[in-house]
């Protein structure tokens, strides 16, 4: 029994020490400097970019149309306090705090939003601080901007023989994804744009590709009489620009130029040569066609 005293000694030492207990509700809790507590949103600074909604792993932040602004609604009952939104906010509109006493009786107390104040730029008689400005003389019609746009504010349309992006300022949340991705720097954000831009200008400048002698292949034509309705073209199409539809008892391809990327796969795969390019593919890009 000579082995027990190691613990007995320990116990007796602790009898005369100060208790280790932290008397929490009656005493101020000891919280570290960088503790991740509840995030607070500063509406005056918010530029409505939507990045916080994108990075949130738990769907706790949702952009909603409130009082004429796209502001983030924060649902604390879903928040996992990872502070990813705070690290990513471009305008420091979300502030960390050390609040942890968040318990409540009802779940709806966590949702909702205080009254959204007037955005600072509205006071200066500016409708919105920034717009996306598209320079059509630089646009190479690659449709990357339409692909990345989260709210479909940029969509592709056909005008003056070009497939160009059109911009809807009302839906745009100014996330600047299109500015980042544009390969030809045709999209830029303007700080002092006075008024809402048109969806698409009335007259389009010529395409930059034509200046250097390249011709964009703009049309694919389908010879409906020759078509057998085999659906091969709709299957190979990578962008689902060709859809098969039953017209007059026959299965015929319906073609959407706004989705087409002119890859030529349908042209290559068609067994009866019913698909043709106009103008024809340049020599370097022309594929060998089996007869």
């Amino acid at each position: 029994m000579g082995r027990i005293p190691s613990l007995i000694k320990e116990v007796f030492e602790n009898v005369f020490k100060k208790p280790a207990t932290h008397m929490y509700p009656f005493e101020k809790p000891d919280i570290s400097e960088g503790f991740r507590g509840r995030p607070y949103f500063v509406w005056e600074r918010c530029v409505e970019c939507g990045i916080c909604e994108y990075v949130c792993p738990t769907f706790a932040i949702k952009l909603k149309w409130t009082n004429g602004r796209h502001v983030p609604w924060y649902d604390m009952s879903r928040c996992c306090f990872c502070h990813e939104c705070i690290y990513n906010c471009p305008s420091n509109a979300i502030l960390p705090s050390k609040d942890f006493e968040l318990s409540a009786y009802k779940k709806y107390q966590y949702e909702g939003l205080p009254e959204v104040p007037v955005a600072p730029f509205e006071k200066k008689d500016v409708y919105k601080p920034r717009y996306i400005n598209i320079d059509y003389s630089k646009c190479v019609e690659c449709r990357l901007c339409a692909d990345v746009c989260p709210t479909h504010a940029i969509t592709m349309t056909i005008k003056d023989g070009r497939v160009v992006p059109q911009y809807d300022a009302d839906i745009c949340i100014l996330c600047h994804k299109c500015v980042e991705i544009c390969p030809s720097e045709a999209i830029s954000s303007t700080i002092t744009f006075p008024e809402k831009p048109e969806k698409i200008p009335k007259e389009l400048p010529p395409s930059p590709l034509e200046k250097i002698g390249l011709i964009r292949h703009r049309t694919i034509t389908f010879d409906r009489n020759a078509c057998t309705g085999c659906t091969l073209c709709s299957r190979v199409c990578p962008t689902e620009a060709i859809v098969m539809k039953e017209i007059g008892g026959r299965l015929l391809p319906i073609y959407d130029i706004r989705k087409c990327i002119f890859c030529g796969q349908c042209y290559e795969v068609c067994p009866v040569n019913a698909i043709s390019f106009e103008p024809d593919l340049p020599l370097g890009l022309r594929r060998k066609k089996k007869q």
Partner: protein
């Protein structure tokens, strides 16, 4: 540090020996770093490889995991057996990749060679529907009793998520 000594030549020697022993069954060898090697093996030859490793290093190798990748575009499953060897200066992770046709996923079990593979095989049966012939108890382990027969959740063509994921 003595225990951190790593001899890459020794690692290579092991793989060369493996390839020379089971020459016709090895389809491809791919190194990813000095300690990891992917060995593509012929269908239904996994037992020989694992037996070889276990017999050669009985006191210094173990089975890390068995898992499956669903290559739905190629129409086949890829079963991966991961082994680890730690023997003096040999520190090698071996990954045996084996293709199995998607419409007839049936392989022999390895539980008689490595008894610890029981749970991994059950899991792969449950999640991908791969049948391990000769397994002592190929029953449900994770999924509850109400789960319908013939639906294997980790296959790519099974879509059971509730909310749509974000579009960005």
């Amino acid at each position: 540090m003595a225990q951190k000594s790593l001899n890459i030549a020794d690692n290579k020697k092991v793989v060369e020996e493996l390839v020379s022993t089971l020459k016709d069954k090895v389809l491809d060898v791919k190194w990813s770093g000095p300690r990891r090697v992917y060995v593509k093996i012929a269908p239904h030859s996994h037992r020989e490889f694992i037996k070889w490793v276990r017999d050669k290093f009985p006191n210094s190798s173990y089975l890390v995991s068995i898992d499956t990748v669903d290559f739905i575009d190629r129409g086949e499953f890829e079963i991966r057996y991961k082994m680890q060897i730690v023997h003096n200066s040999i520190k090698l992770a071996l990954i045996f990749e084996m293709n199995v046709p998607r419409d007839y996923p049936k392989v022999r079990t390895i539980t008689d060679i490595v008894p610890g593979a029981v749970l991994y095989e059950r899991e792969n049966y449950e999640m991908f529907g791969i049948i391990f012939e000769g397994h002592p108890n190929l029953a449900k382990f994770f999924l509850p009793e109400t789960w319908p027969e013939g639906v294997y959740p980790l296959r790519k063509d099974v879509n059971i998520l509730r909310k749509k994921p974000k579009v960005w």
